[in-house]
């Protein structure tokens, strides 16, 4: 069989242009009503929206009450005036009203620190120390008793600062513990390994609510007679242990992803165990799990909402306390929406940030 000339495989003249792919409305129509299922889904969604949206607008905007006192709120409309009046109480709890600038400053401090820390180029030792100083400043601001600030006992702390403080404190106290637990899980010493696994699994088996229960009911029994720690610290201990166990699991994932060769290389450089962990293993392991670590912040923020069972006035319980005001009709829906919105704003931004880090790391990995 004779070989075909090469020209047989090469176009000798330009192929005719194809029509452009369908655009705009055509594609929309196809995806929305392309087949029976799509059409049905579209119909259901539109009908529901037509049914729900007008009612929602009617409730929230048209008959919503934006200003005025308790008597202004009538049946049928959203009582936004309640939130106007009660927002300080929800945000700051029982904190003495004349000193509310202190929790406001604490919130701004944490916001500023968080924003500063976000760009990866700011990740430095100095930033860490800034956080340590910031947390100390926040505690001093809230507690007072020095620098001429009026002392405010933790029983009077409340609202958003409690939520933020518990999150930051439990994570920063939990992280070193988590590193030790994660390393301990990989230890070649069986007793250490078993202890670390046992601790992590025990904590992860218990609901946080139960942990808080134990912290609030049993911790006073387990400490020496007369030594008592207050509710805030109890909740903090429970949240820290919980966060440590979860962070340890995340870190373990990072440790497992480190190739064997890294350990061997460290060994060849005659680094001892601690130096290997500190200089070779941990930096890589932590870098690998930064996105899930960021996600743990979201989990912790959400977890702080449970501290109302130990009698702390965090954001959620301060909101519930505000609803108990006998003078106002209790607008549950509006209040929960407001609280949910605050949590959402915090958690959603952290989630997005975590996503950003994940993408950034993925693109770095490709280079």
């Amino acid at each position: 069989m004779a070989l075909l000339p090469i020209e047989a495989f090469v176009l000798s003249k330009e192929a005719p242009a194809r029509p452009p792919p369908p655009r705009g409305q055509i594609r929309w129509r196809k995806t929305l009503f392309g087949d029976a299922i799509s059409a049905a889904v579209t119909a259901v969604i539109i009908v529901t929206a037509l049914f729900v949206l007008p009612k929602l607008v009617q409730w929230a905007v048209v008959s919503g009450v934006w200003t005025g006192g308790p008597s202004a709120c009538h049946d049928g409309g959203a009582c936004w005036a309640f939130l106007r009046e009660k927002a300080p109480q929800i945000l700051f709890g029982l904190y003495p009203p004349n000193d509310r600038w202190r929790p406001i400053l604490v919130i701004l401090l944490f916001l500023g620190l968080a924003l500063w820390t976000m760009p990866p180029r700011h990740w430095s030792v100095a930033t860490l120390w800034a956080w340590a100083v910031g947390v100390a400043a926040a505690l001093v601001l809230m507690g007072g008793g020095v620098f001429g600030l009026k002392a405010v006992p933790t029983a009077s702390w409340g609202g958003l600062p409690i939520t933020l403080l518990l999150t930051v404190l439990s994570l920063s106290a939990g992280f070193p513990l988590a590193v030790l637990l994660a390393l301990g899980r990989q230890s070649r010493l069986p007793a250490i390994r078993v202890l670390c696994i046992g601790f992590v699994e025990l904590v992860r088996a218990l609901p946080l609510l139960t942990m808080l229960f134990i912290a609030s009911l049993l911790s006073p029994l387990m400490l020496p007679n007369g030594l008592s720690i207050d509710n805030f610290l109890r909740a903090l201990v429970a949240l820290t242990i919980y966060a440590a166990a979860y962070l340890a699991e995340v870190l373990r994932g990072g440790l497992q992803a480190i190739p064997r060769g890294q350990y061997e290389a460290a060994c060849a450089l005659a680094l001892n165990k601690w130096k290997t962990a500190r200089l070779i293993v941990l930096p890589q392991a932590i870098a690998k799990v930064i996105p899930p670590l960021t996600n743990t912040i979201v989990v912790t923020v959400k977890n702080t909402s449970l501290v109302l069972v130990v009698g702390l006035f965090d954001l959620l319980s301060a909101g519930r306390a505000a609803l108990a005001d006998p003078v106002w009709p209790a607008p549950y829906t509006e209040t929960f929406l407001f609280i949910a919105l605050i949590y959402f704003a915090i958690c959603f931004s952290i989630s997005r940030y975590s996503l950003f880090l994940e993408r950034r790391m993925a693109s770095e990995g490709r280079q």
């Binding site: 109480q89 029982l94 904190y95 003495p96 009203p97 990740w123 430095s124 030792v125 860490l128 120390w129 956080w131 340590a132 947390v135 100390a136 505690l139 001093v140 507690g143 006992p153 933790t154 029983a155 009077s156 404190l169 920063s172 106290a173 992280f175 070193p176 590193v179 229960f213 609030s216 009911l217 006073p220 029994l221 007679n225 007369g226 030594l227 008592s228 720690i229 207050d230 509710n231 805030f232 610290l233 903090l236 820290t240 500190r278 941990l282 930096p283 932590i286 069972v309 130990v310 009698g311 006035f313 519930r320 306390a321 609803l323 108990a324 006998p326 003078v327 209790a330 549950y332």
Partner: protein
């Protein structure tokens, strides 16, 4: 970011936490073992009281965060007696489940939180002092249900909050009268109240005093609701201390007795200074002009004077917090002095 510095910074934050998170409570304070609560309170400089998470009239912070109420005033009376200043009292809001443990374990010095005196509590590490309010358990029901007694509530849904003796009372009433009541149980007072006013329940069961307060402030029209007694039981709401410190037990007991005795003796917040010049030996002994009572209790001789001067007598405390001068307007009823037909019995101060 080097992990070592990360750990160091983390640890330093952890240490800061432990330092900062410890309020004055956090240090070794209530060194009371057997006895010693008084010394601990003095060295600490304030009385630590268990309070509710907000029962208006009994213990609730106002919008400025200042605690008010009948139970709160008992604690302030103790602070005035022991430290000479009613504001040297701190209040710890406790859930129903926490309150007894908090007392038993020394987190607080006394509890004044509408706590009903019962045998099992008394036997379980708690010493009840003197009742500061007599109450009964009742159902709050809409008037148009035409219920006059518990037996009229057959098959009704009843909202109740957990963490009190009430839920046992409810179950007992339902069983005894074969009412088939359907309990809807909440962890918090607000939960049960809101559910009642939303129409989730036909009745709300709790102490009648609390019901009066709920009816007065939460309902749109108080006249639309009636309170139906659940049984014939009277509950003695009594501040309590823990087992093991008889001295402190006496101090709290007589701080409450002082409120009642002052009313009996006609000593009020206003006239207490004039009464110092009284020739009545009972008044003179009570106010410490005639010395002896203070030494016996290990307090300053003017302790009862301080209590009345700063807090007022029982009648004043009652009216201010739950009586005619308050929003609740609960009639004195059983809480009148014994001479007026009530259950409040003055204890001789000699």
């Amino acid at each position: 970011m080097r992990p070592s510095s990360c750990i160091i910074a983390g640890l330093s934050i952890a240490v800061l936490t432990l330092i900062g998170g410890c309020s004055p409570h956090g240090s070794r304070t209530n060194q009371d073992g057997i006895g010693g609560t008084l010394a601990a309170v003095r060295s600490r400089g304030y009385v630590s009281c268990g309070a509710s998470q907000g029962t208006i009239g009994f213990s609730a912070p106002n919008s400025q965060g200042y605690w008010l109420g009948l139970d709160v005033d008992v604690c302030r009376a103790v602070a005035a007696a022991v430290l000479g200043d009613k504001n040297k009292a701190r209040f710890l809001p406790l859930t129903g489940a926490q309150r007894l443990t908090a007392l038993q374990t020394g987190q607080i010095d006394l509890i004044a939180r509408t706590l009903t005196w019962t045998l099992s509590r008394d036997a379980n590490g708690v010493n009840f002092t003197l009742p500061n309010f007599y109450d009964y358990v009742g159902f709050l029901v809409r008037k148009d249900h035409n219920a006059a007694k518990a037996a009229d509530l057959k098959n009704a849904s009843v909202c109740v909050q957990t963490g009190s003796t009430i839920e046992v009372t409810l179950a007992d009433v339902s069983r005894r009268e074969n009412l088939g009541l359907r309990p809807v149980i909440f962890d918090s007072v607000e939960g049960s109240r809101q559910a009642f006013f939303s129409g989730r329940c036909d009745a709300l069961i709790t102490d009648a005093s609390a019901l009066t307060s709920v009816r007065a402030v939460l309902s749109k029209n108080a006249a639309d609701y009636v309170i139906v007694p659940a049984d014939n039981q009277i509950e003695a709401l009594t501040p309590a201390v823990r087992h093991g410190d008889d001295h402190w037990f006496d101090i709290v007991k007589f701080s409450i007795a002082a409120l009642i005795d002052a009313e009996q003796l006609g000593i009020t917040q206003k006239n207490v200074d004039d009464m110092l010049k009284s020739s009545d030996p009972d008044v003179r002994r009570f106010l410490g002009v005639e010395k002896g009572n203070g030494k016996a209790l290990g307090l300053s001789e003017d302790w009862a004077y301080q209590v009345i001067k700063q807090v007022g007598n029982y009648g004043e405390v009652y009216n201010r917090n739950v009586g005619d001068d308050s929003a609740l307007k609960i009639p004195r009823g059983l809480n009148r002095l014994q001479r007026d037909g009530g259950l409040m019995v003055p204890i001789p101060f000699n």
